[in-house]
């Protein structure tokens, strides 16, 4: 499936290989992997827990992918988002977009990430040496998503 939400880690190489398997019309694959950093807002991160809204998550991601397909001429998309407990260095999210040409692949991939950051129902809780805290939404993410508003 194009969109998956799972606790397990994912294999980027395998996902990209599956995206282009048996096809010769793809000229470009742009992809993005988000990872847990060991430092956020000056605090050392020991662990991260990703909560989500199971009934909504897949649909929200599929809607974002559909919007990308409406806007750009792209051939295939893969979105995988992990939930549950993660450690620094762990992979969180994969977005991969296949297209005939690179510009469409890059644009759609960055669009999906920007919208996912503000539209998909995931919440991060970080454990630091000072205790656990919910991560606050960043205004920079709102601004990044607003770039894609249609004029």
């Amino acid at each position: 499936m194009a969109v998956r939400v799972q606790e397990a880690d994912f294999d980027v190489g395998g996902e990209l290989a599956a995206l282009r398997a048996g096809r010769r019309d793809i000229g470009a694959i742009a992809s993005f992997v988000g990872l847990v950093r060991d430092l956020n807002d000056d605090a050392r991160i020991e662990e991260m827990v990703l909560e989500h809204y199971p009934a909504m998550t897949r649909k929200a991601l599929e809607d974002i992918v559909e919007e990308a397909r409406r806007r750009w001429d792209i051939l295939d998309v893969r979105v995988i988002h992990r939930v549950g407990r993660l450690a620094p260095g762990d992979q969180i999210v994969l977005v991969a977009v296949a297209a005939a040409h690179r510009r469409e692949a890059f644009q759609a991939c960055e669009f999906i990430m920007d919208w996912l950051k503000t539209q998909a129902p995931f919440w991060k809780k970080e454990r630091t040496p000072e205790g656990s805290r919910w991560v606050d939404a960043r205004s920079a993410d709102e601004e990044a998503a607003a770039r894609w508003q249609r004029k």
């Binding site: 809204y53 969180i92 950051k117 998909a120 919910w134």
Partner: protein
């Protein structure tokens, strides 16, 4: 009355000490805004979270604004701005 199922996630779930509840709204005030007003009137943490800080609402798994209407059986989720990715 319009009975809806309300869900809370993340910081709101912890602050409110519950992940869901059923609530009844008068039929002539069955909107997201009216529901939020009802919750704010509980005071304390409800007022702090739903008046002082940003939050988002989804009805039947679609993000909506405060003027969205509610129908019996709707699933209304209230949560902080999302932080995935």
């Amino acid at each position: 009355m319009t009975r809806v199922n309300v869900l809370y996630f993340a910081r709101l779930r912890e602050a409110f000490g519950r992940s869901s509840e059923e609530l009844d709204l008068p039929e002539d005030q069955a909107t997201v805004g009216a529901l939020i007003g009802l919750l704010r009137r509980r005071g304390e943490v409800w007022l702090r979270e739903l008046e002082g800080r940003p939050f988002r609402v989804a009805v039947n798994q679609e993000m909506v604004g405060l003027d969205a209407p509610l129908a019996p059986g709707d699933e209304v989720a209230i949560f902080p701005p999302v932080t995935g990715g």
